[in-house]
Symmetry: C2
Subunit: 344 residues, 2 copies
């Protein structure tokens, strides 16, 4: 499937950076496997913001988040004898479920390293897809070392959560779909807002949109203490967050630093970083509940939160917003949506 021509200036160390052809290849491989999630719209949210908000509903993706896309694309590239050895990933959340589902569908065994205090629903969701789960103690064990050891012992293939060419390309299919769906609505995109942790989703989308919607600025949205991508974009080099140890309800976006590959893509293509507070995230979850009938997890709601709380000027614009996932504990969800209705 891959084009045999090589691209100049896309090397970072050993790993070749993905380009738009990798995203197109991923889109072909994911056809009929990943769901084409809808682009939702609410007349009321449009009226409130004075903008046209087109919300990409990745909670409706298989496993409840965009992570299935990158995992499937990565695992589908494993050939021959390596297939039987399977894959190894470490994650406490959405990546675990995405890898487990993709491996199951492609017929490879999967081992997922998860913290022993991960939410029961996420462990259960991962186990449902037939993955072997290795639990570790978050305080005394090093999950990266454990995953490396399991990978070596089994001669398995690691599936990184973001810093991988095929993972980035798979997540980029979200951007391809947004561009095509906006076109079908006759809408030209003025702005794109994307939740950002390690930066795989926004990197893939930036590659896709650079071609499908050239000139449209793309912003990374992070929880305020975990603003490593925003700070790195401002500094022009990878740097850490302001308060990496700070608590946040956005568990999936608490990462120490942007990825190496992802930042190499994002530094030239992402217009800037925006941050949101936990309160703004909770209000965005409540708005999605009321006006979109969509369940968002906190990390999945940060881009919508940036739009609804006026973190960037939107008036008169058509804005694509990625809602990246919906795997959330019922109590946390209810705290968010009822807290907002108390304040209203």
């Amino acid at each position: 499937m891959r084009s045999m021509t090589s691209s100049p200036n896309t090397e970072t160390g050993r790993a070749r950076l993905p380009d738009v052809r990798d995203v197109e290849g991923a889109a072909r491989r994911l056809r009929g496997k990943a769901r084409l999630t809808p682009l939702l719209e609410s007349a009321l949210l449009n009226a409130e913001t004075g903008a046209r908000l087109l919300i990409k509903a990745e909670p409706l993706q298989l496993t409840g988040s965009f992570k299935f896309r990158g995992a499937y694309n990565r695992i589908s590239r494993i050939r021959g004898a390596r297939r039987a050895a399977g894959v190894v990933a470490h994650s406490s959340g959405n990546h675990a479920q995405g890898v487990a589902a993709a491996a199951h569908i492609l017929g490879l065994p999967a081992v997922i390293v998860m913290p022993d205090d991960a939410p029961a629903a996420k462990i259960e969701g991962t186990r449902f897809w037939g993955a072997e789960i290795v639990l570790y103690d978050r305080r005394s064990e090093d999950r990266e070392a454990l995953a490396r050891r399991l990978t070596a012992e089994r001669r398995a293939t690691p599936v990184p959560p973001y810093d991988d060419r095929f993972v980035i390309a798979g997540q980029g299919t979200v951007g391809c779909e947004i561009a095509a769906q906006a076109r079908a609505l006759g809408a030209a995109l003025d702005l794109v807002l994307v939740p950002c942790g390690g930066g795989g989703l926004i990197a893939g989308c930036a590659l896709a949109l650079e071609h499908a919607s050239p000139g449209t600025p793309i912003y990374a949205v992070e929880p305020e203490a975990h603003d490593d991508t925003k700070r790195s974009l401002e500094a022009g080099r990878r740097t850490g967050a302001s308060s990496p140890e700070a608590q946040s309800i956005c568990d999936a976006l608490r990462l120490p630093m942007p990825g190496m590959l992802t930042f190499a893509i994002n530094r030239a293509r992402v217009a800037g970083g925006l941050v949101v507070t936990d309160g703004e995230v909770a209000r965005a979850m409540a708005a999605a509940f009321r006006h979109l009938k969509l369940v968002l997890e906190p990390s999945g709601a940060v881009a919508l939160a940036a739009a609804l709380s006026g973190r960037i000027e939107l008036r008169g614009k058509t804005v694509a917003i990625i809602a990246s996932g919906g795997n959330v504990d019922p109590r946390l969800f209810c705290d968010a949506i009822c807290q907002d209705s108390n304040m209203a």
Copy 2:
């Protein structure tokens, strides 16, 4: 747009019964106006039931329920001078918002008669679409008489919630879409489960599916005390519910008796009635939250509840389930989804 040939044997009193050509006409009129809502699927719910459940997600419809379809189709048929006089409807919930949105989009004024104790969110949702709202006291005033008086005074056109040819045909577009979406998945439907209040949604879908999926049995699902359609189907004539005064969290399905037009359609086409308890409905809402990331209101969850609680044998079957709406108060929603997680 309407075919000029008349159909024999489709008269009930003054009103002609709709047929499949009316549904096809509605589908043409609704194209680009109503949303083509997705048919969702959860591998986990499939595994739990041993069936393939295809869930039609009408909470994602404009105004949060299927009601927009029938209202738009009805109002789009108003011609000439009657347009300026506008429409009148009475409803405390989804029909109110559907009529208000359809009238706004078609450029007609709308008056909605609502009880003064209707949820603030529903009054606000109706007002958002520019409708004039006339509140009445549920204990001392007769809403039907009030709506009739307003209709006469203003020479307006009434928009009935279900007993109307164009309303039924509009709701039937849900059935057209289900048939086409199932075909696109390569799935043949063995069974269709539809929430049932006045019977407009199931009547329209029965007309559509009789042609698009001939021989597939269709069941009406009701709250257990409000089983008027089930009892009427068994009796072969319109009859009341077992306990019409009983409380139920399914507020939209508490109707005294099937509609005249809707029952004339349903008696020959609906295979039977199923009932569900409030507890089963709450568990279905929790399952939709966890596995579909979709917000369901209680009335919108009854068909899923029938499937998940084993009210009918599903094993090995492909089952279309209509999730008809998602307009629910946050507290009621949280009671449902957290109650279930306490029991788990």
